[in-house]
Amino acid sequence: MIIYPILIPLLFAIIIVFFWENQRVKRALSIISTGLLMVVNINIFLLVYREGIQVVQVGDWPAPFGISLVVDLFSAIMLLTTSIVAFLLAIYSVSGIDLARRKYGYFPLFQFLLMGVNGSLVTGDLFNLYVWFEVMLMSSFVLIALGGERTQIEGAVKYVILNLLASTLFLSAIGLTYNLAGTLNMADLALRLQAVQSSGQVTVIAVLFLVAFGIKSAIFPLFFWLPASYHTPPVTVTALFSALLTKVGMYTLIRFFTLLFPFESEYTHTIILISAGFTMLTGVLGAASQTDIRRLLSFHIISQIGYIFMGLGLFTEYAIAASIYFLVHIILAKTALFLSAGMVESIQGSFDLKKLGGLYKNRVGLSMLFLLPALSVAGLPPFSGFFAKLGLIIAGLESKQYFIIGLALVVSLMTLFSMTKVWNEAYWKPPKDPKYLDQHNQVSVWRWVPVIIIVVLSVLLGLLANPIFEVCQMAAAQLMDPTQYIRAVLGAVR
């Protein structure tokens, strides 16, 4: 069962290549594939929710020797969220991606990217994780450069170089790990690392992984590639990256520091907390100076990553649960923001706040699609962002980390300020150029439907916060008790 999230995108990528010239069939296949993926992932989620951690030993090789695929509740939540977003993005792509990009392999790359993401979420093997990250990165390299506009290539170069550096660090860390523990199966590794005497080496490895995934998930001070590159491709691609790539980096960090390095808490978790604080702050300050909606939202990605990271730094069960809830919240809300910005661009032809204006007067519905997720990101009740931040702050109070709580609240206020700025400029003020007002560009229904669905989902996540947060707490309980994971993979603990 749990191997299908990897196989479905691969199979459909192959089929799509056979229909290279036929745009209609390609986009239909893309929607069918992601829809199927979503159904499968709902089933996986229910299975894991009812019966606990699921394991498959690929190729029938027993656990520490072969590659294990493991899905616990955390993975299942991430699989489900990403596949919902992928499905909606596949629908949005019908109108959100121009013909030239569709002709040059956008659809198969979309599938390969999903395969990489799903692979990273289900694998239980360190080297296999590296391979899936490469699958993901290769697809993203091409997606970010596809189209070949001048700014795009500039952004792509920065993106590629920094991510290759991260991959090199990741690979070196894997090498050191193997040298130290003699295994790369994550469950086996968790056991062996407990027994390793020289904890100095373990700390070095932990920090290497922290830097490698820190670059990939854009934490302070390693985030520079993100605002330099995320605004260059079409907004659909940006939404895809923002929903999947940095979040998978975050998923991996949470997985590593709960499963592999839970005993390193003193040293690394202080680093994590400090970095989390700076990530939140620099992200939101960077956003304040931007006038391009996409750049502004890209800086907010960084700022929000800081909150998730803060939950990991606090490292209590409640904090991890809040981080997981925050991950789901931000994936939905951020995608909604990017996609509604894409709708604005399709009407007024610009992302520049100085040129935009008057949208609220003519298009109330469209404005709501921005306002609701924006308030959610800013953390106003009753939206999901409020409960996510509330969870983190309660967790912070419990562990008496008052400084980071204060910072989180200040940043939250500044996020609200930043979102108000977008609202004032793009939706309220009259446009500079009056020709924008009497434009009657229709937004394609292929954009309306997915954005409405994702905004509704985002609102529901806030209204149903209680039961959803309980599931996150179950996931966090599984994460904080690695023996469950180890027993599921290796059988009885030796």
């Binding site: 191997i3 196989l7 691969l10 199979l11 192959i14 290549v17 056979f18 290279w20 498959v56 030993q57 690929v58 190729g59 029938d60």
Partner: protein, 137 residues
């Protein structure tokens, strides 16, 4: 410019040799040096030799399919080899072998099929990339 006659004539002899050798490499794989990737590269270089000595468009005519379809078919064969064990209730990609070795081919199984897929995929991708470059000129 006068075309050298040496290369086309040599290619006429080299190309079949390289293709046969690539299949030898493909089948020799698994336990010994060789396999689908190397075999595919040798076969693709044979095809490229043909393209260089005659012309890229001649290679287009020689190929039964568009190279990107060849690549997709290869990928599909490899994927399919992983699916076979699922029909027998075993996990994905479990290696399954036939009981008695066949003449010439030897003992084959699902990993052989996987390698055949890689072989086809490598030919497709390499030819695809190089023909794409040749067209630009």
């Amino acid at each position: 410019m006068q075309r050298s006659i040496i290369l086309p004539v040599a290619t006429r002899y080299l190309m079949p040799l390289m293709l046969v050798f690539s299949i030898f490499l493909l089948l020799r794989g698994h336990n010994e040096v060789g396999g689908g990737f190397v075999g595919g590269l040798v076969a693709a270089s044979a095809l490229m030799l043909y393209a260089i000595s005659t012309s890229p468009s001649a290679l287009w005519k020689l190929l039964p399919l568009d190279p990107r379809f060849i690549a997709a078919i290869g990928l599909f064969i490899s994927l399919f080899s992983g699916f076979i064990p699922l029909f027998y209730g075993k996990p994905f990609m479990t290696g399954m072998w036939i009981e008695t070795p066949l003449p010439v081919l030897g003992k084959i199984g699902t990993p052989t099929l996987f390698d055949v897929g890689v072989y086809v995929l490598v030919i497709g991708v390499v030819v695809w990339i190089l023909l794409e470059f040749a067209e630009d000129e």
